[in-house]
Symmetry: C2
Subunit: 409 residues, 2 copies
């Protein structure tokens, strides 16, 4: 197999769980794994500069293909020299494939599943595929999207315009955006769909995986610079999850396989780790495994113990903007609570957000100042709390790696 | 006269105008004058960190007594060790006296006068002074405030609660907030008030000036750390302006005079420089003169040529958040235009906001990226444009000083 732009190395394996500590070397730097990847949906980690992303201890960031395609458009990002140049971030970058956003936001809305759904914009008029020659397999009446065998037709959340994503198109967009690690285009089903639908959808996702791989391999220049991860789906069904893990991990085009894997799905909270366990029992040990859209520290621990290497989620940054911060609350290594800094009890609190925290915010500001900024509606509140929460995540992952090496996890 | 916390030194006087170049040394650093002072109304220059304020070239910042008194309250700021500690800014700080906000926001609203009025919150119910024993001199039905001989009763813009500011109270609040330079409490009249009102108001402002000075001098500790500027009013009337300049500049309590002067008023644009000319023909040369609420670069030039040393205004920061940036547009030293970065013509523009600009933003980002951030509603848009606009102001003032020294202004 030819040289690939990323190298995954496992340094330590846990004897107590499936956890492993390692590195993903990329053309833009090294990611220490297990890692939490901050999300910069629209080519900015909301409210903070790229220097702050680095200074707070994050190794890489993940942007969103769907959003960047709609605005500003992937061509203008390419004209800048890619995502990193566009947003002035020189660390490793990731893009998801847009499949989740294009189809599933509306379906997931309000159904108590863990993936981030706040970007959903319900209420758009249905669009028609009449005369398109496509057999419509699934419709989403909340955020109108229709999936057929070749791709997904969806409405822009910006202007309601109609767009059609195929695996080829998703990969071409991601090649233009130019992140170091990109993902195959998949259909992310709701866990509430019946098994018959999950099966048909999985077949589609697998065909789309091949189409994604083919598109990437055939663009020699992009292929030499960007790693492509395949996505495992299969809902909450053991047979489908294992079938998907086997199919995706064995898939090749011209002898070339995926560089790593994403584990996808709109999980019901209780199903997530079970599905991950099934999948990771099949996936090869020597490639990185990204658990898509999971970021609650307690969930990350579970994912790590099941052998996942990287995680992304908007929750720590979104929470920060609305006033909720992570705080270690006891001597227990992984124990934490969420504090709402808007709470009136913090208005005279001269302590930092978290005692002992070494982040920019905690070294400089009090809870009273943060409480004031939130109440005053000041932008700086979100900026300072985002720094704290992402630093908390970076330190949390550092502790996770330390505990694995120490033989405690 | 005893040692004062600030020292004003004039280094160069123009031979072509009343302009002068100098320094104001404060306990927290030196302000190069003429200077533009960024406004951090609520103890934060909106959207940027204190380090950014310093890095972009600003020497000091000005916060708002009215807003900080209402929230978080001056006592909690005092408990932090003052404004600088509260907001983690170690440079020189200023607070205005709150007179303008307490009374005039509503009056100024919609009357085409240049001072910033966007914080006005019209529509509050009138409050009653019945039985208070105060003769109500003026009422503001838009943002209900009533001025009497002793002070101003006003409604909180936050919760509608009633508050009463006297000169003594304003100074005590400013002592708690603890800025290096504070202002006497004044009544800022509308230029549309008749001359009879202006006269009565000016008498009040002069009595309040003495009360402010007395309150400050009698608090030995605060007086030793904070400079107090008297405010000149008088509307658009030459006799009143000159009378005010004479009165305020000669006023003393226990042999102690004001440390500097603020020139106040809700100016109609065409009256501003005329009034400044009258005032500065009377004020002593050896003390700094601050032109309150003026920040348009073309107005600053006029103020500088009439002998003003410092200026403050929210316009450069407010404009930045809504997409409007300053750009030098020709080889002419002081020539500039306003660009609206939200304009569709910038969406593919790979140039910086301003060619040749050395600010953080222009060295790293394109107009296309800025256009994208604004359209996406991203917080970083305001942050990056604020850095540019305040850097523009800092460079503009540096050029002003250079041109005075070079004998061109």
């Amino acid at each position: 197999m030819q040289n690939r732009p990323i190298t995954f190395s496992i340094k330590t394996r846990s004897t107590k769980s499936h956890a492993r500590v390692g590195t993903i070397e990329t053309p833009h730097g090294v990611i220490q794994t297990p890692a939490f990847i901050p999300v910069g949906t629209k080519a900015t980690v909301k409210g903070i500069t790229p220097e702050m992303v680095k200074d707070l201890g994050a190794d890489s960031m993940l942007a969103n293909t769907y959003h960047l395609y709609l605005q500003p458009g992937d061509e203008i990002i390419k004209a800048h020299g890619g995502l990193g140049k566009f947003m002035n971030y020189d660390g490793p970058t990731w893009t998801d494939s847009g499949g989740f956003q294009a189809f599933s936001l509306g379906v997931a809305l309000g159904k108590n599943i863990t993936k981030f759904t706040s970007s959903a914009r319900p209420g758009y008029d249905e669009i028609s595929l009449k005369g398109s020659g496509h057999k419509v397999e699934s419709e989403n009446a909340l955020l109108p999207a229709k999936v057929d065998e070749d791709g997904v037709m969806f409405r822009s959340i910006i202007d309601g315009s109609a767009h059609y994503f195929t695996p080829k198109k998703s990969i071409e967009i991601q090649q233009n955006i130019g992140a170091d690690i990109i993902f195959a285009f998949d259909e992310c089903t709701s866990p509430h769909e019946p098994v018959e639908y999950q099966k048909r959808s999985l077949d589609r996702t697998h065909r789309w995986a091949l189409e994604s791989l083919k598109t990437h391999v055939e663009n020699t220049e992009a292929f030499s610079k960007q790693a492509l991860f395949g996505i495992i789906q299969g809902g909450r069904h053991e047979d489908l999850r294992k079938e998907s893990a086997k199919f995706i991990s064995e898939l090749s085009y011209n002898g070339i396989e995926f560089d790593g894997f994403g584990i996808g799905g709109s999980f019901a909270k209780e199903d997530m780790i079970t599905a991950v366990h099934w999948v990771n029992s099949i996936l090869p040990e020597n490639k990185p495994r990204h658990l898509l859209g999971i970021g609650e520290p307690s969930d990350i621990i579970k994912g790590v113990m099941e052998g996942c290497d990287t995680f992304d989620c908007v929750m720590p940054t979104r929470n920060a903007r609305t006033g909720t911060v992570f705080v270690n609350d006891s001597a227990d290594t992984f124990s934490y609570v969420n504090l709402n800094l808007k709470n009136a009890k913090y208005k005279d609190d001269l302590g930092p957000i978290e005692w002992g925290c070494e982040c920019y915010t905690c070294k400089r500001y009090t809870r009273a100042y943060m409480n004031h900024l939130y109440k005053a509606g000041e932008m700086l509140a979100g900026t300072l709390a985002t720094i704290h929460n992402l630093h908390f995540m970076a330190k949390f992952m550092e502790k996770v790696r330390g505990e694995i090496v120490a033989g405690n996890l």
